[in-house]
């Protein structure tokens, strides 16, 4: 669009029965309104996914309108009620990420409200004109790769991950939780195909997106082949060949991460920070909270109390006299982008986070999210060399504080079982500290599950890509193990273990009696904080 004045680009999702017809009526009545919107017709406003809004913004829309029938008038009974629920979540997410809810609007426009359609168009165009151009910068394309370069890249990857050392013993497949439920999948065949030069087949096939990168295979391989690293490397090449994963929740989480990576927004991610919690802007200890506010908004219909996790961590630190630095300018660590093939996105986020921590003067960074910690510890340091600041998991911190006498936990008679998350356990090798931190409260008994520590079963989903039937089976298996211990509560080491296992527990599962999986699930930090005096 030409002219000096900024002309907003608006995408409008209109339902066929009311709002699209309302737009028709505006036309029939020759009601003039600004030509800025482009209508996309859907049968029902309930069809519009939160991700559609974010994707339109990512693609350069300055504003997005969703219009449906008035509540009570939906052609599909209640589709607009679903739309309302989803758009509320979307608005919250837009606020947190800093784009702001004003860039989207939900309107009910009936087929007889041509006037309202025209008025909405005028108002919304003006609203967006005032907001100015959408500041999300254009994102770099994944690029493309020719077969020869791909071959070179994969050969390098084989070298880096020791894939040539594979002797086809098949131990990886026997422990692989995905292979157990999906006989077509085997870690070793992916490696073998690569070493046989069938590079294109593996990068465009589905297997590399089926792997949950839990590293059961890594920990079992007698020749120390780095399967998960191999998969991660292949994914970075696969996206250049238009092979993309199916992301949970339509991909909105990765979308939000890309906005954080490539955009420069004032977020609102400290909604969990209540008044009694003491935090600082500068100091020795930096608490890296992870994406908990985003998850909390996205899963607000489930009783997960994700905000309780950072609250618990700060409470623990305050009790021990530590006032941690907590920053609203923290961005996502990039874990999920990195594991879905977007290494450039990871690096953008990395720079922002590391600059932020350096500026805070922190000597120690504490993590409650194992994925963040893994990403700092392994991926960031791969790119940037060793950090001068120390990386600590909250359980390690608690363990140390208790041993040094700086933190006392009150006794509590409780029987717990602990879920080693793949990132915390097999990736970072942190097994004892969480148990010690829990048992620091006298009377706490930890009953181990059948598969524990480096044999622990995964929560089934990684990087929001593999939420499928196999994942559900893995989750059910894990919940059954937990329930069988007789413990009062399953303590999880990772936000995502909590989200995924609770999701499965609360769903109606065919053929799985409720009593076999029904167990209370709590995050590690929350369980520790319960025993604060």
């Amino acid at each position: 669009m030409s002219g000096d004045e900024f002309e907003p680009n608006i995408v409008a999702f209109c339902c066929n029965w009311c709002s699209y017809a309302g737009a028709d009526l505006a036309g029939v009545s020759r009601m003039q309104y600004p030509p800025n919107a482009r209508i996309i017709r859907v049968m029902c406003s309930g069809r519009v996914e939160p991700y559609f809004i974010l994707k339109a913004l990512e693609l350069g829309a300055d504003g997005v309108l969703v219009a449906g029938c008035h509540i009570g008038d939906c052609h599909y009974i209640s589709g607009n009620v679903e739309a309302e629920k989803r758009m509320k979540t979307t608005q919250e997410l837009l606020d947190i990420v800093g784009i702001g809810r004003d860039r989207m609007r939900l309107e009910w426009i009936s087929a007889s409200e041509g006037q309202k359609f025209a008025a909405t168009m005028k108002e919304f165009t003006e609203q967006i004109r005032k907001l100015g151009p959408n500041p999300i910068p254009k994102q770099p394309k994944a690029g493309s790769i020719d077969p020869a370069s791909l071959k070179r890249k994969v050969d390098q990857l084989i070298e880096d991950t020791g894939a040539f050392d594979c002797v086809e013993c098949g131990k990886c497949t026997t422990v692989c939780p995905v292979a157990k439920h999906d006989p077509d999948f085997a870690p070793r065949t992916i490696v073998l195909k690569a070493t046989e030069g069938q590079t294109e087949a593996i990068t465009t096939g589905g297997d590399i997106w089926t792997c949950i990168t839990c590293e059961q295979c890594n920990s079992m391989c007698p020749y120390e082949v780095d399967y998960s690293g191999f998969i991660r490397g292949l994914r970075a090449e696969a996206v250049k060949m238009d092979s993309t994963p199916t992301c949970s929740q339509g991909g909105i989480i990765q979308g939000l991460m890309r906005v954080q990576a490539y955009g420069d927004f004032k977020q609102d991610r400290l909604g969990w920070l209540t008044q009694e919690l003491k935090v600082a802007e500068k100091g020795e200890v930096f608490y890296f909270t992870g994406c908990v506010s985003y998850f909390d908004a996205l899963f607000n219909d489930r009783e997960l109390n994700l905000s309780g996790i950072p609250q618990a961590v700060v409470k623990i630190m305050n009790k021990a006299g530590i006032v941690p630095v907590v920053s609203n300018d923290e961005v996502c660590c990039g874990h999920d982008l990195n594991w879905t093939g977007d290494e450039a996105g990871l690096q953008k986020l990395m720079k922002k986070n590391v600059d932020l921590i350096k500026a805070s003067g922190a000597k120690k960074v504490v993590f409650s999210c194992p994925e963040c910690m893994r990403t700092f510890d392994m991926d960031y340091q791969d790119f940037m060399g060793d950090f001068e600041f120390e990386l600590t998991h909250v359980s390690e911190l608690v363990d140390d504080l208790v041993k040094e006498g700086k933190l006392k936990l009150k006794p509590s008679a409780r029987k717990l079982t602990f879920q080693d998350s793949c990132r915390l356990g097999r990736h970072l090798d942190i097994y004892d500290p969480p148990r010690a931190a829990l048992e620091a409260s006298e009377g706490t008994e930890i009953i181990e599950m059948e598969n524990t520590r480096d044999k622990a079963l995964c929560c089934g989903v990684s990087a929001w890509t593999t939420c499928d039937e196999t994942a559900r089976k893995i989750q059910v298996e894990r919940l059954k193990e937990a329930k069988k211990t007789g413990a009062d509560c399953l303590v999880t080491g990772c936000y995502k273990c909590l989200i995924h296992l609770a999701c499965t527990r609360d769903n109606k599962l065919e053929g799985v009696p409720k009593e076999q999986v029904d167990i209370k699930i709590k995050d590690l930090s929350v369980a520790i904080a319960e025993a604060l005096e």
Binding site: D24, M43, E49, D242, E510
Partner: protein
Amino acid sequence: MPENTSTEKEKPRIGVFICHCGSNIGGFVDVKAVTEYASTLPDVAYATDNLYTCAEDGLNNIKDSIKEHNLDRVVVSSCTPRTHAPLFQRTCEAAGVNKYMFTFVNIREHCSWVHMKEKEKATQKAKDLVRMGIARARFLEPQEETKVDVTPTALVVGGGVSGMTAALSLANMKFPVHLVEKDQELGGFVKNLHGLMMTTKSANETIKPLIDKVNAHKNITQHLNSHVASVEGFIGNYDVSIGGDGAEAKEVKVGTIIVATGAVPLVPEGLFGYKEHPNVITSTEFEELCNKKELPKLKSVAFIQCVGARGQTVSYCSRICCNVAIKSAMNIAENRDNMLGVTEEKAAETGEVVEEPTAEKKAEEEGSERRRRRRGRGRRDEDEGGEEAAAPSSGVEVTVFNRDVMAYGVEHELEFNKAREKRVKFIRYLPDNLPKVSVKDGKLEVGYFHETLKMERTMPVDLVILSTPLVAQPDAATLSQLLKVPLGQDGFFQEAHVKLRPVDFATDGVYVCGACRGPADITEAVSQAAAAASRAVIPLANGFVQAEALTSRIDEAKCSGCGTCVEACPYSALRKNEEGVTEVIAAACKGCGCCGATCPENAITMTHYTDQQLLAEAKAALEEV
């Protein structure tokens, strides 16, 4: 998202037809420029403009171009799909292109007509809209409409007037019917009534022929003392389990279901001295007393209308109570069938004279009645003098306390007038100043404020009859859950569309009639029942149902069976199969796409409105040109 699936498959060949619509579009959009632009876009094999694409010429142009340019998909850029899509889709089909390979771009209602003063911008917008349509067209896939067989049997729930009528209608059309009644006999609410409106026959006499016909009909299987215990399936193929009192459940297979469970009168707990005094009763209890001939000796009777209705216990008007009260008032005034129980022996005791109207007198009365009707409005003037004949023959004073009398319809309004001629008093009260029922010296009395006279008044009465609204059956919620059909806020079953689909539910295959969808009199219940039966018979007679082509599809490998979509579906068109994976019941799906938007695993594809198609449109909308 892969941009080009076209490299793998055969390259799409898109035809683009851009309409001037006379000067409707052409006057404000440079159609030639848009056409030229369209022809430069990828995968466009042919682009042209028409003066009127929807005219014979334009349609032939589409057909010919499909053949000449070997087009496999068509984009028409003109007016609105809401009126013209079927026409162009038929044209595509006639030329051998699946109708779902067609995309509509609206550059009239959404562009030329609303940007009449900005030709340049309107042209730019039209180009953008056409580019979006072409982007969508690239990802279109042909769709087939499928058929599902129908079990040619119906289920009717409720053995009252509506249910019996519906069952008979279906049975007469030679379809087997299962009729489920929770009571031990047929007849529903009406069987307990005494007199009915607009007829001198008793309630029992009126419905007896109906019951006899149902009893005699070989196509109707009755299930008395029974209820619907479970329902599985969808239109054409329901498995229904019918539970009985202590008996083993019976399983039946049916194709369609009619809900005719009726309603119950509100019990006016705590209102107007109900239950505090034995002579304060509801209109239903009055009917029962009439049937048993146990009415107390009456000199003065008061009806109170709208008890618990219209903003009190319930918000709605129960519609039938005014006419019921008029009917009862008339019956009392005329001592119809000697309902007041003044037998000759009793009369001898009390010294009252029982007048048995002679045939002659009856004929005379009816004659005068017809004359009155013909005279219409002029009648009142003549009545001013107060004819003796107009006085209530029973000598009982009847007063109807009302907020306003709703005697809708020709016949009822005349009944109302007749009642007034019989000296039935209609006294208006306002909702913020209700009549008060009290007892003084052991005698019932009604205190009220006369709105015209602006006076507080008291009236001694022998009997107070409270007209309470019909309310939903207490077990309506259970049935609504079993059938997965909605209840409105008042607990009545809610039809698909208040005006255009009054006896359908939104869920195909289930229909509603009678008082279970709101208070109805017998006349209305019978017409609704006949209507419901005629709707319910369509799938049975066809033998199949045409499933919506645009349904959601589930990728079983991706589905984890979490059930989120099952809850989001307004039509209960999703269910879990034996493997714990969700499946779409194609016959029940309406294609709204709510499930697709809610699936956390992206396992659901909403046909014809796929993520890929919609996002391609969004992407094209925002492409920098």
